[in-house]
């Protein structure tokens, strides 16, 4: 008898009657979800929903069970149900997991290019494949909405801002000398290779409280965490020859680069508008070391050194011959190290860095000494905490020590500045559709003996699955151009207030974006000389100065990109409009400054031709006329240059040569040979003038990159 009971006990679970569990799975809006997994937790009983989202399965569970439903991209659903009898007509509604399609992102003013963000409008590769950008990061940024092209100067001119109002930031650290030394009426290139970076974010205003000392814009560059390819690479082109070597082990990697360049051969082939006495010759090297000491920790150390020299006869309206000889010898060193780590599943994260840069320009102009020396040491620490619901809180601080020396016609000026800043910022998701970012930054400069408080605010509201509105506002402070501070130590910060409204749709590899902005400039430096305006861009200020200047810039920009309609064909169109007036520097009244062009249009088209593994790219850039100073016109800065046009073409071909990847590239800039004029300079008597144009009109460039990579093919040793 006992045995019987025991057997019954064994059999009993299988002896219960089968019961039906049925119902329907939908999303929060009531749309059926076919293919969802519905089951009783801890059992094998369950099924997949059909095309109508309905399910129906049998179970032998008794009393109660946990009903679970999963669907890819949705949160797991669980609920206790009674299964004493059939459980029918169950309705399950699943919530979508937060992702970039259903959660708003704060985007006003930012233009991102990164590998990580799927919805990025630009990818790092776009920088090197854009014709006319000459594989220069800032060169490519000039085609983006909000940027204005100023052909005779380096720097990014953003929404009515001057080139000095944009800061280049690498891994959170301000780069003191992002461009090669400035030359009269020649646009210098950026010092950094685009392949160093995994992501670029070009902010055209309203940016985070993490960054300061920029009235207009920040260009944020994030270096790669790993080497791209193990092995040796060789680059050869008309201007330089370089070697790079990458080596990686499990937790460490190293990249070394060395190059030598001489522009003499290129200048012999391409007619120059600049009178070179000695074409630029440069050499440099860099070393990167990366270490992963813990699971999430990463230490990056980057050091570079370069030197260059050149001589030219620059146009000079002040000299009798119309020319002045300039000799420049530049030595530049930059060292930066960052450590990032995160703990507790990313709830805490740390970003810290230390950097040192030193730049020496030995310049003689007409046999006078115009040496320039600068040095910047900085440290930065940012701690962020991820709170529930994706809200974040970030606090950080940075400190800089800046030392400057400048020679002006034999006289030396010196400056020391200690600059410190602290910031706090929080991102708050009110709902998945509405998010805000509130930040506050405070800065102190020992030179100005002054502190400031800069609030920043952004909001973003998602209007649909692919579209959203953003709004950003904030105050931005920057120390006045150091040339004013050499003589006047009583100056204060210059200030800009930004207001930005943005609307964008990103859908199916097509992007539409429109942004309107208004910027108010205040506390700009004014100089009172009591004399006529001096248009010499290299003049040393000697008049009385104060912070009585002001101005505004307002306008809108438009961006459209389509990578979908035609296979392997990608094009973008940008249009930027800005209206701006300022009363600053030696201006006697509020007028449009010389670096402003009201209309900028760029058209960029790229075609990948699979058959011949070649990428062909074309750009057209239009910049409307800019004001220039004409001493013969009683109205100040009332003359305007003619608009400039530029058509560029570039092709790059991938080829496998003996198992190694080789990239050949060729480009033609200004293919129509348009004689663009950027500005005019007048002799002091106003009787004659000369035009400042590009360094050369139509020009071409060829080169190649060889990657001697072991990884790309199988060798006998692998077998």
């Amino acid at each position: 008898m006992k045995l019987f009971y025991c057997l019954l006990f064994l059999i009993s679970p299988f002896a219960y009657a089968q019961k039906t569990v049925s119902g329907k799975v939908t999303d929060k809006k009531g749309n059926a979800l076919p293919g969802a997994n519905v089951f009783l937790k801890g059992t094998y009983d369950g099924t997949t929903t059909d095309a109508n989202g309905t399910f129906n399965f049998q179970t032998s569970q008794k009393d109660t069970a946990t009903l679970a439903a999963t669907y890819v991209g949705y949160e797991i659903f669980e609920r206790n149900i009674g299964v004493k009898d059939n459980a029918t007509d169950l309705s399950i509604s699943l919530e979508e997991i937060a992702n970039e399609l259903n959660t708003v992102v704060i985007t006003a003013g930012a233009f991102e290019a990164s590998d990580e963000k799927r919805m990025a409008m630009l990818k790092p590769l776009d920088i090197v494949t854009t014709a006319g950008a000459a594989a220069d990061i800032t060169g490519a940024m000039q085609f983006l909405p909000g940027a204005q092209r100023v052909g005779e100067q380096e720097g990014l001119f953003v929404r009515g801002g001057s080139g000095l109002e944009t800061k280049v930031v690498i891994d959170g650290m301000i780069v003191q000398n992002p461009f090669f030394s400035s030359l009269p009426d020649v646009q210098s290139r950026g010092r950094f290779n685009p392949f160093m970076f995994k992501g670029t974010s070009f902010s055209t205003g309203g940016y985070s409280a993490q960054y300061g000392q920029a009235l207009s814009s920040v260009l944020l560059l994030n270096t790669t965490d790993k080497v791209n390819n193990n092995g040796l690479g060789i680059s050869l082109n008309l201007a330089n020859a370089g070697l790079n070597y990458d080596y990686a082990t499990k937790n460490q990697s190293i990249s070394a680069v060395a190059y030598y360049g001489n522009l003499k051969p290129l200048f012999a082939l391409v007619k120059q508008n600049v009178d070179w006495v000695q074409a630029p010759e440069f050499k440099g090297s860099s070393l990167t070391y990366r270490l992963k000491p813990t699971k999430n920790g990463l230490l990056k150390v980057y050091g570079m050194y370069s030197d260059s020299h050149l001589s030219m006869n620059s146009s000079d309206p002040l000299s009798e011959s119309g020319k002045t000889r300039l000799d420049l010898e530049n030595k530049n060193a930059f060292f930066t190290s960052t450590y990032t780590d995160s703990w507790k599943d990313g709830r805490w994260s740390l970003n810290s860095g230390f950097s040192y840069s030193r730049n020496n320009d030995n310049t003689t102009l007409a046999a006078f000494n115009f040496d320039r020396f600068d040095e910047r040491t900085q440290a930065r620490l940012v701690l962020s905490r991820l709170l529930s619901g994706n809200n974040t809180l970030l606090i950080g601080a940075e400190a800089h020590a800046i030392r400057l020396k400048n020679g002006f016609g034999g006289k030396y000026y010196k400056l020391n500045d200690r600059y410190a800043a602290a910031f706090v910022e929080s991102e708050i998701y009110i709902t998945r559709q509405l998010a805000g970012r509130i930040g506050l930054r405070t800065e102190y400069s020992s030179l100005l003996k002054d502190a400031n408080l800069a609030p920043r605010l952004s909001f973003a509201y998602k209007t649909g699955r692919y579209s959203q509105f953003s709004l950003a506002a904030g105050q931005f402070y920057q120390n006045p151009d150091y040339k004013y501070l050499y003589t006047d130590k009583n100056l204060h910060y210059e200030r800009a207030d930004h207001l930005i409204l943005n609307y964008q749709i990103i859908k199916n590899q097509r992007t539409f974006r429109i942004e309107a902005f208004h910027k108010n400039y205040a506390q700009l430096v004014r100089e009172y000389t009591g004399q006529h305006f001096d248009a010499d861009p290299y003049r040393f200020p000697w008049g009385e100065t104060n912070n009585a200047g002001k101005g505004y810039a307002s306008g809108f920009d438009f961006f459209w990109r389509d990578q979908k309609t035609i296979k392997n064909f990608d094009y973008w169109v940008t249009y930027s409009f800005v209206d701006s007036k300022r009363l600053f520097q030696q201006f006697e009244k509020s007028v449009t400054p010389t670096f402003i062009s009201n209309h900028n249009i760029s058209l960029i088209a790229k075609k990948w031709i699979e058959k011949i593994t070649t990428n062909v790219s074309m750009t057209y850039a239009f910049t409307s006329g800019r004001p220039y100073y004409n001493p013969n016109n009683d109205k100040f800065l009332a003359d305007k240059t003619a608009p400039t046009h530029n058509v560029n073409l570039q092709a790059s071909k991938l080829q496998n040569v003996l198992g190694n990847l080789v990239v050949f590239y060729a480009s033609v800039d200004n293919i129509l040979n348009t004689k663009n004029v950027f500005t005019y300079r007048y002799t002091p008597d106003g009787k004659s003038r000369y035009a400042v144009g590009p360094q050369s009109y139509r020009s071409f460039f060829v080169g190649m990159q060889i990657m001697l990579s072991k990884k790309a093919r199988v060798t006998k040793d692998d077998i």
């Binding site: 064994l10 009983d45 999963t70 590998d115 799927r118 790993k226 199988v714 077998i719």
Partner: protein, 219 residues
Amino acid sequence: MKRTILTAFACLATVCMVLAQNEKYTQAMTANIQALQGLDKSKPDAKALQEIANQFERIAAAETKEWLPKYYAAYSNVMLGFVGVSLEEKDKYLDKADALLKEAETLAGKPNDEILVMRAFQSQIHLAADAMNRWQTDGEKFNGYLSSAKAINAENPRIYYLEGSSLFFTPEEYGGGKKAAKPMLEKATQKFASFKPESSIHPDWGKLETEWMLAQSNQ
């Protein structure tokens, strides 16, 4: 005496139930693995694949100590990522596969070559979904997982199959192509010849795919 007998019965009952449960697990796994292997590998039916993935997930939810159901659920989701129509859809499945593999790793307790191979496979399909933008990051992950797998068990034939298939689908300009893939696929074939899975439900896939690719390479 009475108590001893009762205890013995109780033990027997428990053992029976555990065995029955084990039997049920193996049976369910075997049936579902067969269903997965029975699909057309070049273009599997998404609906059937989804049902198989769901079944593995149900087994995984019940058998909370086994890594194999998670592994196979991940495998099915990688395949779903492969057949997905849009990048958005592909990524959903591939992200899910990635999460499942991380859970499988935790359950396995120690580094496991099969899970690493599956993670490499996931990276490969993730790369293929948007090759232009992902070849750098995913290519590196792919190589990393395979070399870790090799360090644990260099005899795992799927390592060489994946290396071969990666070369097979890489354009010749980048050092790939059918010719470059051939030696690696031949090596995979060799390893498959001597490979014995640990049990009837342990990973044992890739042989047919290798044979197909090798036949293509010989053309």
